[in-house]
Amino acid sequence: MAKITIENAVKKFGDFVAVNDVSLSIEDQEFVVLLGPSGCGKTTLLRAVAGLGLLDSGNIMIGDRDVTYLPPKDRSISMVFQSYAIFPHMKVFDNIAFGLRMQKVKKNVIRERVQRVSELLHIESMLDRYPSQMSGGQRQRIAVARALAIESKVLLMDEPLSNLDALLRLEMRAELKSLLAGLEATTIYVTHDQIEALSMGDRIAVMKDGEILQYDHPTRVYDTPSHHFVGGFIGNPPMNFVSVRVERHEGRYSARVDGFNIEADDNMSDALSRYDGKEVLLGIRAENMEASKTPLDGALAVEVKVIEPLGSQNLLTINTSQDTLKVSTHPDFFVDPGETIWLRFPANKIRWIDKDTGAAITPDIEKLRA
């Protein structure tokens, strides 16, 4: 059992606060991805869990044990480094066996375990070679094999795929996912690649400036970002944000943009009442807008600036008076730049964002239940 609990973790480097009062709870055998741009503190947090940099304050529990100040070797963790950190002076076998040797495991057990994990990663034919003769992808496999060999309760991965080229990364991503699914280890996986995070994680913790903005299942992080930043960071293209003014007509709230009203969902009424007459951001994903070449009821007429045929979709760039929108349409949807089209904003796909805090405006859950 290795539930990981981080409580109020703070880590500073001089004046720079790398991790700012972060609390995070990870279930046993769960796969959690720490996602964020570089410098957001995700790697620092991972290293704190590994014991490679002690926290300035806060606690880390692995299982029932408080490990805050323990050295890495007493934490029953293993790790895959971004640079792989495969020892160049040891053969592949010795690299994979390294952790086991340090634990003074019996020789025949070592041989058997190394054999097993190397078969798992399809590197069993390279055990006698030195890493210097190997490609990036093969080294990556060695790094993973070495981490799996010690069968620790916690597996930490620091951007393991970021040094691979795009095609290999795609391949390894799927392979790693199926491999890790069969493991019993609790995994923390750090990446700046939102697609990796969405495709692999049981849950994603999105970090920015040393804080966790949202910690949820991938689909919820994608569909209902809790923060302006999360919506903008995740998704390709990122979520569109439009500056709107909240107005109230006949008891219903709507967003006014360029003389047009976008109706809000009924359950938003209470939450939006505090913003009556104020500017907020309206967030909507490119694929959630309905585009039409003919006038539609309740649709905003806009002029197409750019059209980018991307094969699986045609991506339109559209300017409102203040903002730029990306609209994803079916590949058959052909328009010329300068043409006018009509956009509909489905109320249930809209995220409302407080312009000052960046936080999402959500219906009060208690009231909703009642």
């Binding site: 480094f81 952790g99 030195y130």
Partner: protein
Amino acid sequence: MPYLLVLPTLLYLAIFFAYPMVSALQLAVQADVRYLNLRAEPDVTAERLPGTIAMQTVVDIIDRERGEEELASGRTRPIFWYLVEAQTVDEETVTGWVNQRNIFVESRTESVTGRINDGEPVTEWTTRHIRTMVNDFRFNSALRNTMLMIVIILPIQFVVAIIMALVLQAQPRGSTMFLYIFAIPLGISDLAAGLVWYSLFTQRGFINSFLVQMGILDSPFIFIASGQLGWILLAIVLAEVWRATSIVMVIVVSGLQAIPRDYLESGQVFGATLWQRIRYIVLPLLRPSLQVALILRTILAFQVFAVVIAISGGDVFTVLANETFRWYDRGDGGYNNPNVAAAYAGLIMIISLAISFFYLRAIRSQEETTG
């Protein structure tokens, strides 16, 4: 263009490294001597007879003849020719003519023997200088002391240098200051270092001052004296470790900086203790740096000279470089014999080259196995 820019350096190094190296070997195995060949007729243009005669050979005069020689001005002057019977360097007897410039006779007309005193300058190969060097009563102790110093100093230096480098690598507060302090000896000459340690080890020096003040000794102990080779060696070893460990330290620190931190951290994650990380990760990865430092230090150890003179005076304890100097020295204490000095220089060179070659081969064979 680039060739033009490196050319001066290469030329300079060729003149001041390649030429002296060859020249040192030449001086060591060559001697400038004069030999004489007798002539078939009493004439300077006559055919030379085979068989050379060494200088100072005593010869029997069989016959003599007064000839004339033409000067550059066109005038002539008389010159005596002697028919002599002489032993050649190969101990064969030859008979032939020699003129008065090449032979010393008591009387031009009366003497029946003479002594050859001039001849053609010839450079010949000889082992004489090497024999002189090897047979010199100081040679064995110089060689032994030099080797002993290397064997004792190098391991100490490497252990201390690695510790210094690891301390710096741990980056304690003020590590830039520590780096500067650790690097100070880089700029200290061996003469100054020798004098510094002389001040500690001399009879009325600091070590004795300390021991007597602490009441450990009643009167100063004489460390530096002819019977005290062990103490002299200790003083020299300490001075050399004090002075020359910094170079090794700098090389090791550079090597350490080239080891990615990830290697050490992954060692930590996979359970290696500090000692295991040093033993299984740091030292193996540091090996190229250590090997280069080893070559450098071994070769530089043959230059130890002023330290020895400053501490011991150079007579009670001697090393190869000191003997080189003694044989070259044209002053009171020296033998003024550049050839033997060159023999010592050549010996040092050959040992240095052999050591470098040995190390480099060792490195290469390791690289072949590690690929």
